[in-house]
C-alpha cells in the first residue's frame, strides 16, 4: 500500500520534471506581456502575429521540408542498403555495419564540423542543399538499424517461393519482402523525421546564412530574448505531434490485437 503510493508519487515527480518546461512554454504563448517572468493576462495575439511573421514561417518551412525530404530519401537509401547489407558476407557486413555506427556514435559536433569541412572543401555553398545532405547522412544509419532486424526475422524461402511461382526478383521484393519489413521501414522513417526536426548542432554547422531552421532561429534569439510567437508555434507543433502519436498508438494497439487473432 505504502509502496504503491511512493511509486505513484515518484512517477508524478518525474513527469512534473519532464513536462514543467513544456507547460511553461505553452502557458507563456498565451501571455499578453512580452517578458518571460511576468504574467500580463490571456491573449491570442502571438498566434495571430505568427501568421504574418515571415522569418519564423520561413524557419518552420525549412524545418519541415528538410525533415520530410531527408526522411524520405534516407528511408529509401537505408532500406535498399539494409537489404544489401543483409546479403553480404561476414567480413563485408561487419565493416559496413561499423561504418554505419560511426555517425550514430560520433558526437554531433564532430559530424557537423566534418561535414562543414567537406562542403567548404568541395566548394559547395552552405545552404539548403548542404543542410539536406547532412540530414540525410545522419538519418540513414537509423533506418538501416531499424530495417535490419526485420530482415533477420524474414523467412528466407518466401522470396524464393515467389520467384519459383514466376515472380521477377523485383516483383518478389515489392510484393513479398517489402510488406514483411514494412514495420521496420516505418519506424526508421519516423525516427529519421524526428531526428531531423529536432537537430540543431549539425544544422548549425551546415546551414548557410540564408537558410534557417527553427533550432537555429531559437538559438540566435536566445540572447535577445525569445519572441513569444515561437512559443505559439511550438505549442501548435506540440499539439500536432501529440495528435499524430495518439493516432499511431491507436493503430499499433489495433495491429497488436489483430496479431493475437491470427
Amino acid at each position: 500500500m505504502v509502496g504503491k503510493f511512493i511509486k505513484r508519487f515518484y512517477t508524478f515527480l518525474i513527469f512534473v520534471f519532464l513536462y514543467a518546461p513544456i507547460v511553461t512554454l505553452i502557458a507563456f504563448s498565451f501571455n499578453e506581456s512580452r517578458s518571460r517572468g511576468k504574467w500580463g493576462g490571456f491573449t491570442l495575439r502571438w498566434y495571430k502575429e505568427l501568421l504574418y511573421d515571415a522569418p519564423i514561417k520561413n524557419a518552420f518551412y525549412y524545418t519541415m521540408v528538410i525533415a520530410l525530404l531527408s526522411a524520405i530519401i534516407a528511408t529509401i537509401i537505408g532500406t535498399i542498403a539494409a537489404v544489401g547489407i543483409y546479403n553480404m558476407g561476414f567480413l563485408g557486413k561487419k565493416v559496413v555495419l561499423n561504418l554505419n555506427y560511426l555517425p550514430v556514435l560520433n558526437p554531433d559536433i564532430v559530424t557537423g564540423v566534418s561535414l562543414m569541412t567537406l562542403f567548404i572543401f568541395i566548394n559547395l555553398e552552405l545552404g539548403f542543399l548542404s543542410m539536406l545532405l547532412a540530414h540525410i547522412t545522419f538519418c540513414i544509419p537509423y533506418v538501416v538499424l531499424a530495417v535490419l532486424p526485420k530482415l533477420k526475422q524474414l523467412n528466407k524461402h518466401l522470396a524464393e517461393a515467389a520467384m519459383d511461382l514466376g515472380a521477377t526478383p523485383f516483383y518478389a521484393f515489392r510484393k513479398v519482402i517489402l510488406p514483411e519489413i514494412m514495420p521496420g521501414i516505418v519506424t526508421g522513417a519516423l525516427m529519421a523525421f524526428t531526428l531531423s526536426i529536432d537537430d540543431f548542432v549539425i544544422s548549425f554547422f551546415t546551414a548557410g546564412k540564408g537558410v534557417t531552421n527553427l533550432s537555429i532561429a531559437v538559438y540566435s534569439m536566445a540572447r535577445r530574448g525569445i519572441n513569444p510567437k515561437i512559443n505559439a508555434l511550438s505549442t501548435l507543433m506540440f499539439l500536432g505531434v501529440l495528435g499524430l502519436l495518439l493516432i499511431i498508438n491507436k493503430r499499433t494497439v489495433i495491429e497488436n490485437k489483430g496479431g493475437v487473432k491470427k
Binding site: V110, I140, V201, V253
Partner: protein, 273 residues
C-alpha cells in the same frame, strides 16, 4: 540472385565514403597541419596546455555527475514502468518520448524562464515569503539541463531490458528464499546491466560534447569542450586546432564505447530503445 542483392548496399557504401569517411579524413588532415598547410603536431601539443586540460576535466566531470543523476533517477522509473500493466505501459513510454518531439532548444530555453531571477520558481518562492535563489548560470543549472534532456535516454534502454526479464526467474529466486533486496541485487540488477550500460553511454556521450546547454543555462561562462570546438570553428577560425580537439573527442568516445560494449553482450540490435 544473391550477388545481385548484395549490390543493393553499394550506393549506401558510396554515400558513407563520401559523407562520413572523407570528411573525417579531412578533419584528421586539418588537425595534423598548421594554418599554412605544413605537417605539424602543434595542434595536439597545444591541447595539452593546462587551460584546455581544465576544460576537458570540467566537461568530463559535469557529464559524469549528470550521468549518475540520470541513473539514480532513471533506474527506479524504468522499474516502475516495467512493472505497470501492459495496457498502460505503452502510454507511459509514449509520455517519455513525447517531450523529445518538442524542439530541444526550446525546452532548454524554457528552463531559463523557470529558473531565471524573475522566473517562475523565484516568483513562487517570493509568494511564499522565501528568499529568491540564484538558480541560473551556474554548474547546477548546466547539470539540470543535461539531466532533463538526457533522462529519457537512460530510462528507455533500462526499461526495455527489464521488461524482457523472465518473471519465473524472479519467482524461482523467491522460492529459494531470497528476500526482495537479494532478488534485486543477485537477479534483477545483473540481468539489467546491458540496459544500464547502453543508458550510461547514451547519456554520457552527448553530455560530454554538448555546447548548447552550457551556453544557455551556464550563461556561456563555463566553457566545456563542445564550446571550445564551436568557438574554434565559428569565431576564431582556427580550423586546425578545432579539428585536433574534434579528433581527440572522437577517439575518446570511441574508446569509451568499445570498453562499454565489451561488457555488453546484447549489442546486436543497435540498442536505441
Amino acid at each position: 540472385m544473391r550477388i545481385k542483392q548484395k549490390a543493393a548496399a553499394y550506393p549506401y557504401i558510396g554515400w558513407l565514403l563520401v559523407f562520413i569517411v572523407v570528411p573525417l579524413i579531412l578533419v584528421l588532415y586539418f588537425s595534423l597541419t598548421s594554418q599554412g598547410g605544413e605537417f605539424t603536431l602543434e595542434n595536439y601539443r597545444r591541447f595539452m596546455e593546462p587551460v584546455y586540460g581544465k576544460v576537458l576535466l570540467r566537461s568530463l566531470n559535469l557529464a559524469l555527475i549528470s550521468t549518475v543523476f540520470c541513473l539514480i533517477l532513471g533506474y527506479p522509473m524504468a522499474m516502475i514502468i516495467a512493472r505497470t500493466d501492459i495496457s498502460k505501459r505503452n502510454l507511459m513510454v509514449l509520455l517519455f518520448v513525447l517531450p523529445m518531439w518538442m524542439n530541444f532548444l526550446l525546452r532548454t530555453y524554457a528552463w531559463m524562464t523557470l529558473l531565471g531571477k524573475n522566473g517562475v520558481i523565484n516568483n513562487i518562492l517570493q509568494a511564499l515569503n522565501l528568499p529568491a535563489l540564484n538558480l541560473l548560470y551556474n554548474n547546477g543549472a548546466v547539470v539540470l539541463g543535461m539531466v532533463y534532456n538526457f533522462l529519457p535516454f537512460m530510462i528507455l534502454p533500462i526499461y526495455s531490458v527489464l521488461s524482457k526479464i523472465d518473471n519465473t526467474l524472479i519467482e524461482a529466486a523467491r522460492d529459494l528464499g531470497a528476500n526482495e533486496v537479494t532478488v534485486f541485487r543477485k537477479v534483477i540488477f545483473p540481468m539489467s546491466l546491458p540496459g544500464v550500460i547502453s543508458g550510461i553511454t547514451m547519456v554520457f556521450m552527448p553530455a560530454v560534447t554538448t555546447f548548447v546547454i552550457p551556453r544557455l543555462l551556464g550563461g556561456g561562462q563555463y566553457m566545456l569542450i563542445g564550446n571550445l570546438v564551436e568557438q574554434q570553428f565559428t569565431y576564431v577560425y582556427d580550423w586546425n586546432f578545432g579539428s585536433a580537439i574534434s579528433i581527440i573527442m572522437m577517439v575518446f568516445i570511441l574508446i569509451a564505447m568499445a570498453i562499454m560494449t565489451k561488457y555488453d553482450d546484447q549489442k546486436e540490435e543497435g540498442g536505441l530503445w
